[in-house]
């Protein structure tokens, strides 16, 4: 059995932001949109913040033939276009020295041989010590071949060596992780044939957002909220992930997925988990993820016959967004003229456990909605007895709204007396805004997630059982729609808040959607 390595005594007590160990980040799909828009800008910003280790390199892998210099120039343009910090000559020249390119296809064994030789050279020249973070920024169909190629070429270090101070290998997968439960399991099995679960990092970039991370801090670092966080005080919870954009150039992708697979199965389920979970025993990755899995397992399973009553689909028609005419979904490029794919979904879910018994969670996600907003709203019970007379009928319940984006912050709505001789009640809000309190230091989600993956911190990544539980829940809905013959979803005007049926979903319970 390998002995754990003695820690570096000069690391003891260092309080500055921790960089990762020396390593190489290998990006499969280096010519793709994700690499240009997110990954390289995030890595550059980490370099700018001096959060990358001394021995560091980035290797882009893609099919096209190009030199290191061409790759560097392309990446500089990407950083210029998509980074919130534009390339600074001094920072870029240091960073670019570590940027190199390997041509290769996922299915060719020569790709992995070339990659191995390249990584050996980087270890000698840049001190990367053979530790590797492999980022799969490729379509899911290529996940399997790449995993197999890496394994066959001996590019996967077993996890035990890291504990003894040896090199490590980690792999990052982008969503969608599977198309349904069966495909997610197949994919997980393929990944498990090469990697230990501790080496696997499945990204849900929502978890990298500051406000989402703050949800845990807000709930578990304040004694005020946790006692009222449950059925005794909460009437219902609304979670909204609304976008005002359409499918843009992703029509082909959307025809295969729809909003349920694209947003609900991952982002929305994660927001629900973080809202509903019990306090973890620690902040260790598995402790947090154990609690999230418990929430997913507590979700009340819907029988097929119950789906129509609890889930509403929709598809956007023509309408006005930000005052501009926009096309219907069926008129978008690469979308079938008779498409039945949903661009909106609203669901009524129940978390059947002690804390949340009987409390509905209304969740919705949609494209081309009135505005871009993601929020979690906890709506508290009405007053048991109306002591005051409210002029416009009834006193609105207290609402605690966590705004994930934009205007990140937390607002608490409550009732107050308007100054004057009469007792006139008004809804007011205590409003905490990140920007106004902490300035503009919020890092991009991918910066945090990439750095965490390099450090081996997995709390903000989804574990195998989480992914499979998410799919298990969503599969029932998807199967019910298929069994129902995939009838065309009701349409809603672009720029609205969804189809009328979604309003009915809450109206039947005597509630209504917030207008966030």
């Amino acid at each position: 059995m390998t002995q754990p390595l003695a820690p570096n005594p000069l690391r003891r007590g260092l309080v500055e932001d921790r960089t990762s160990d020396a390593c190489t980040v290998v990006i499969f799909g280096a010519s793709g949109d994700l690499t240009r828009r997110k990954l390289l800008p995030a890595l550059y910003n980490l370099a700018w913040q001096r959060l990358l280790p001394g021995g560091f390199a980035v290797v882009g892998v893609a099919r096209r033939d190009k030199s290191d210099d061409v790759f560097r120039e392309e990446m500089r343009s990407a950083v210029a276009a998509f980074s919130h910090r534009k390339p600074d000559d001094a920072v870029w020249s240091d960073f670019a020295r570590g940027l190199t390119y390997v041509r290769g296809a996922a299915s060719e064994s020569s790709t992995y041989d070339a990659l191995r030789a390249h990584l050996d050279r980087l270890a000698a020249e840049r001190g990367t010590r053979h530790s590797t973070l492999i980022y799969l920024a490729v379509p899911p169909a290529e996940f399997g071949p790449i995993v197999e190629g890496l394994r066959a070429a001996g590019l996967v270090d077993p996890p035990g060596r890291e504990r003894a101070g040896g090199p490590w290998t980690r792999v990052v997968f982008e969503k969608p992780f599977g198309h349904d439960l069966a495909s997610a399991r197949r994919l997980n099995d393929a990944v498990a044939s090469a990697f230990d679960e501790s080496q696997v990092f499945r990204i849900d970039h929502y978890l990298g957002k500051e406000t989402v991370q703050n949800l845990l801090v807000f709930r578990f670092a304040n004694s005020l909220f946790e006692p009222v966080w449950g059925r005794a005080h909460v009437d219902h919870v609304q979670i909204t992930v609304a976008e005002d954009i359409g499918v843009e150039s992703r029509g082909r992708f959307y025809e295969q997925t729809g909003v349920t697979r694209d947003i609900v199965e991952n982002h929305l389920m994660q927001l629900l988990c973080l809202t509903a979970m019990e306090p973890p025993i620690s902040l260790a990755a598995d402790a947090v993820r154990d609690e999230k899995v418990k929430v997913l397992r507590s979700l009340r399973k819907m029988e097929r016959s119950e789906v129509p009553r609890n889930v509403v689909r929709g598809q956007y028609a023509r309408g006005l967004v930000r005052g501009e005419d926009v096309a219907a979904y069926r008129e978008e490029p690469d979308v079938a003229g008779d498409s039945r794919v949903e661009t909106y979904v609203a669901m009524r879910c129940f978390v059947d456990n002690w804390r949340w018994s009987g409390v509905p969670f209304y969740v919705r996600a949609g494209k081309r909605m009135a505005r871009r907003v993601t929020e979690i709203a906890v709506v508290f019970h009405d007053l048991p007895h109306a002591l005051f007379h409210a002029q416009d009928g009834g006193i609105a319940p207290n609402v605690l709204a966590v705004r994930v984006q934009p205007d990140e912050g937390i607002a608490l709505r409550f009732t107050s007396k308007e100054p004057g001789q009469q007792t006139i009640l008004r809804d007011v809000a205590m409003d905490f805004r990140y920007g106004a309190t902490f300035g503009s230091n919020t890092p991009e989600a991918y910066e945090r997630l990439l750095l965490d993956a390099m450090r081996g911190e997995a709390t903000l990544f989804t574990r195998r059982d989480e992914v499979e539980e998410q799919w298990a829940y969503i599969d029932r809905v998807l199967e019910a729609w298929v069994a129902d013959g995939m009838t065309p979803p009701p349409t809603y005007a672009a720029g609205s808040w969804g189809p009328e049926a979604a309003d009915d979903l809450l109206a039947r319970d005597g509630r209504r959607w917030r207008r966030p």
Binding site: L14, R50, T437
Partner: protein, 370 residues
């Protein structure tokens, strides 16, 4: 006739309220007041306080605060002056501005001892207070002591004071009950952080880990004239290395020698280099030589303006030496960025307390530039 402290406070209060009372005029951006900390800066001269005002204004751009900057002139004629302003930065969403409040005082003569009372009246409730003290200080100082007792964090700067000042405040803080113990930080210590990180990198590779216990030579080069004593930055670095690696100081025939944890001796040398563009007394280079078993290494970090070259040379017995070299950008040495970094660090830093205590004991020993 100058205003009394009561009159000054009433005016300051009124001016602070007036900053936010008026609606923006047409064309003006809406301003939101924000405050995450009471930032009290006390300098031992009006000129130093004046020079620090832009630093404070820089810091509150990213850390909204009620900033109270005070210049002390204990030898001047009694009097208290104050100037109020808002310091605004564009809101992150581009809509409007986020503003801090800044009050700049000059206290002269007997008014100096009234400063804590004046400042406590102006501190916002329910946000922590940070005291930045620029100058020599003793924990019993009548201006320092009341402010320090109310502060959650005290920031000193060895460049404007001394290692003895820091040690004195560290010991005072240690003696307080845990619930009332402020964190003590030092700007010179924050300045050392990149050097610490680069020194630590020398031993990150697993096979080099044992060499950390086998350092044989340490050379510190500082920006100073020949014969100058070891400055605060170098002393803190030496204290840090010593407390991490278990070194003890011993003097042999007037020369400083260090004993390693394994009982072996090691030498330490101080070299000087003309300051040039670098701040006087700043660190210029650190060189560590170490041996353990069949392995020897030399690590060097050499500063060159805003960057440093990190070199590692490893000599295995009977094998080919290996060399690694990285160029590393150092953090901005601007005082504003340095203070901001300091304020974002954890309040309690045991490594600083240990390093200060170790270096403070060295004061009697001679370690001068050769």
């Amino acid at each position: 006739m100058s205003e009394t402290p009561r009159e000054v406070l009433a005016r300051v209060d009124e001016e602070l309220r007036a900053l936010w009372a008026a609606a923006p005029r047409p064309g003006e951006v809406p301003r939101a007041r924000a405050c995450t900390v009471n930032l009290i800066v006390v300098a031992d001269s009006p000129a130093l306080a004046e020079a620090f005002v832009p630093v404070v204004e820089d810091v509150v751009q990213s850390m909204p605060a009620r900033a109270l900057v005070v210049g002390l002139d204990p030898d001047g004629a009694d009097g208290l002056e104050a100037d109020v302003s808002a310091v605004c930065a564009p809101a992150p969403d581009g809509r409007g501005a986020v503003c801090s409040e800044r009050v700049h005082f000059v206290a002269r003569g007997a008014a100096c001892v009234r400063v804590p009372s004046v400042l406590s009246t102006l501190c916002r409730s329910d946000v922590p207070t940070t005291l930045v003290w620029l100058g020599h200080v003793h924990a019993d100082d009548p201006t320092f002591a009341p402010l320090a007792r109310d502060a959650a964090r005290i920031v000193l700067d060895a460049a404007h004071g001394s290692l003895a000042s820091i040690a004195n405040v560290v010991y005072w803080a240690r003696a307080r009950a845990a619930a009332e113990r402020p964190g003590v930080a030092d700007l010179a210590w924050t300045r050392l952080a990149p050097w610490q990180e680069l020194c630590a990198r020398l031993f990150d590779e697993p096979r080099l880990r044992p060499l950390a216990g086998g350092v044989t030579h340490l050379t510190i080069t500082q920006a100073s004239s020949p014969g100058a004593p070891l400055a605060a930055d170098g002393a803190l670095l030496l204290g840090w290395l010593a407390t991490r690696l278990g070194w003890r100081a011993a003097a042999y025939a007037g020369k400083l020698r260090l004993l390693r944890a394994d009982g072996g001796t090691m030498s330490v040398a101080l070299r000087s280099q003309p300051a040039g563009a670098v701040t006087s007394e700043a660190l210029q280079a650190v060189r560590l030589e170490a041996r353990a078993g069949d392995l020897a290494m030399t690590g060097e970090i050499a500063r060159d303006a805003d960057a440093a070259t990190w070199r590692l040379e490893v000599h295995p017995a009977g094998g080919e030496p290996s060399r690694l070299e990285h160029r590393v950008r150092l953090w901005s040495t601007g005082t504003g960025r340095l203070l901001e970094r300091t304020l974002r660090r954890p309040a309690h830093d045991h490594a600083l307390a240990e390093a200060v205590a170790w270096a403070d004991e060295l004061r009697g020993e001679e370690l001068a530039c050769c």
